[in-house]
Symmetry: C2
Subunit: 228 residues, 2 copies
């Protein structure tokens, strides 16, 4: 009698293999990691700064900032007194798992609870490269316009939560919130959504509570997360 | 006696070869072509619409709109009564010369004076792909922030003119105009610069006059343009 043993063969890209290695490092260290993506100027660094200010006494935080050039962002975050590593992509339009892997030795992972990775400002390319983190988050902003979910569907489909930033200037723009939310809902039904202003602080409590709950859930059981 | 004949061998990428073909088509048709690049939501389509409204009785205009998905932009432009062709890149983060070439048969080039190509909303990738046009133009916007030249130098270096849009909301943002302009000047000294609001019309006359002058100069002598 012949028995057939099912073999699940996973063909992984080189990037995905390294993403898995990053994930293993995070899980072994008990470190919850988020990939924060956005258009240029939507407020990634501002959100990281507000998050660090609010949570740095609760969690041991660090940030990795990806940029085409300069260390403007990581300098700002480091000024708040948490570890911040800059990745200069040298012109590349996204972070990939190898770039993140190369940055990790700069951080003492077992001494951290939460790592926020700020991707390069780009609504397209970062979606194609898993980093190995636990959650992907998008920050959009009112001035970008209400049609962005329709025009950049891949980004809106691939995230676990999103923020809409710069709510303080909503009235200065022709932004149809229903049209925007409808686009998000079509692409990513039930997506966790926060309307915020990093400038005024509006809405940030809900975001911070989400981060708290995510870190707590991860500390309870690190299994079951997609590779993001 | 041996004579040495200097051979200038140009190794062109496949994209550059097609860009040259596009350029030949434009020049043969007497058509001046612009590549308009920007971050998502900076105002590319708004600028094209304002330009079409203002100049469509002076010039025979058309637009090609590149987007990852949807025909939202080309529908808006077509509603103004000028030819508009949508290129859906199917997820790709930039236009390339072949995509533009594939769109050109949709237009009757000899019956046009000015073609505006709206690139995909992205401050990084479009800079790597010549389309074959005569001029590259960047439209930035106030809400993106004053640090963008420093963070996306390739984009700011590679253009022939730039606009800073959404000047109507300048006071609502912490935007240091001197810091921004200094960054632009370092990267692209003397760059033609227009501070505008596509919403209020502020500053658009200067932009429109630049377009008029560029088209007139091109009609005078089509030679001498870089391949953009």
């Amino acid at each position: 009698m012949t028995r057939t043993v099912p073999v699940v063969e996973q063909i992984l890209s080189a990037n995905d293999r390294i993403a898995l290695q990053n994930r293993s490092e995070f899980d072994a260290a008990g470190l919850f990691a988020i990939n924060l993506m956005a258009s240029p100027g939507a407020g990634k660094t501002s959100l990281i700064m507000e998050t660090v200010k609010a949570l740095k006494d609760e969690f041991r935080l660090a940030a990795v900032d990806g940029d085409v050039a300069t260390s403007i962002d990581s300098d700002k975050v480091a000024a708040l007194g948490v570890p911040a590593v800059q990745i200069n992509t040298g012109g590349a339009c996204h972070l990939d798992a190898a770039m993140l892997q190369a940055a990790l030795p700069e951080l003492s992972l077992p001494e951290l609870d939460l790592l926020v990775v700020e991707n390069v400002g780009n609504l397209i390319c970062p979606t194609g490269f898993r980093l190995g983190v636990h959650r992907s988050v998008l920050i959009a902003s009112v001035p970008e316009g209400d049609d962005k979910p329709y025009k950049y569907p891949g980004m809106y489909q691939g995230v676990d939560a999103m923020l809409l930033n710069k709510m303080d200037v909503l009235s200065a723009f022709d932004f149809d919130m229903d049209y925007f939310r409808r686009g998000v809902e079509i692409l990513n039904p039930g997506l966790t959504f926060f309307a915020v202003s990093c400038k005024t602080g509006e809405g940030l409590d809900a975001w911070l509570n989400w981060v708290r709950a995510e870190v707590a859930a991860f500390k309870g059981a690190a299994a079951g997360y997609e590779i993001r």
